[in-house]
Amino acid sequence: MQAVTENIYILVLLGMIGMMLLVVAFILINSRGQNKMLRQRQQMQQAELAHQKELLHTVIDSQEAERKRIGQDLHDDVGTALSSLRMTIEMLHAGQGAAEEEKYVSLSKDIIDKVIKDVRHISHNLSPPVLSYYGLVAAIEEKCAFINQSGQLKIELIDEAGQALHQPAFEVLLAFYRVLEELINNTIKHAGATKVVIKFNADDTAGIVIGYTDNGKGISKKLQKKGMGLQNIESRLAVVGADYQIAQEGEGFNMTIRYQPVLVG
């Protein structure tokens, strides 16, 4: 009886100690798990923040590069032409013959025409008028026609989107125009491609889908992450709420942009 008594007490004692240790272990494991999850979330947030900062720097750098280009164009083309115009006008003075006068007036008109053309070209680059009057497809068609003339690159445009591309706001279409412009520039500068296909699609589930494919040498994963051009594209698309995907399989470069129009109702 004494042995049974002591057995029960010992069992209860061991049970109490065992339960305590079990619960303490459970609490410790739970706390470690929570702290680990918190650390991982904080790391992700920091990485996201760093990425956003990088994108912002890219946007600012792009803006500065654009301003520099515009400044250079204005200086080299318009500035030089206006200087020539001034010199030409200075050569005009009373007492010259009609033929001499006619020569300088004609020359001045040619210079003025060149200035108008250069200013139009710079203005077109800043904000293409075709985009606002005729839409995205027409603006891209105009760009493609200009590039196709060179003969070095052939751009094929397939439009299956219909009226869907006239629905988004101008800012969205401008973003798509700039993105396609950037992609074409990258193809010309780096890809060594001979053919580009741009396809516009639209349906109720996927929204607007823009496919860009070239037959060049493709893009390395490193450049996908670090390239300023792609960062520019990412930030432009992020601002309008579109997303993109770069396909890894196959040769060449393949990008798909998806945009779901926001319904206002």
């Binding site: 008594t5 029960i8 007490y9 209860v12 004692l13 109490m16 619960v23 929570q34």
Partner: protein, 213 residues
Amino acid sequence: MIHLFRLLSIYVIPLFVLIPIIAGIIKYKHLTIPLKVIFYLMLFYAVIAGIGSVQLAHHISSKIVADINGFIDFPVISAFYILILNRKWRIPVIIIAIVYAIFWVADFFIERNSPQNIYPIIYESIFIMLYAVIYMNQQTQINVEKRWSENSFNWINSGFFIYVASTLLMYTFYDLMLQMQLNAIFLVLWIINDVTLGLLYILIAIGFNKCRQ
């Protein structure tokens, strides 16, 4: 051994209840509603501990004091968990607390000749363990904003969990052990009970201390 037991049960552990009370008073203006519930529970424990100690010192039965403690204790702890658990657990916890109250009243008559009403304590222990596990699971589902140790509720929840889990077996076999010959191991069990109770008070005090503006 019996002297150690009397020292712990009558003097040391009852005084330990002052630790969370002092911590609660210092941090009172920063205490949220659930923490205030626990603070008032500690005040109640202090009164019960004081009366219980005096009765133990004079070899008077503390059954009535223990009964009152049991009647108030679990509903207040349930109220704490109602405030810290998700909304979906409110109705089940309220039902558990109401069933407990009915069970306590019934048990008051069932165990009126026993030295202590054990069944409600076992019921209480099981459900507090359940609340504790539900709370810990809830914490793994949400996006926590701070480390585990910076959350007051984690400390308090751990305190209750450790205390009830450690003492559940003892209370389960309490009546059986009482029928047997009292010996040193029985006193050791009570000492462990007292030590875990002291640990509960310390963890609650840490929980109050973690409160910030």
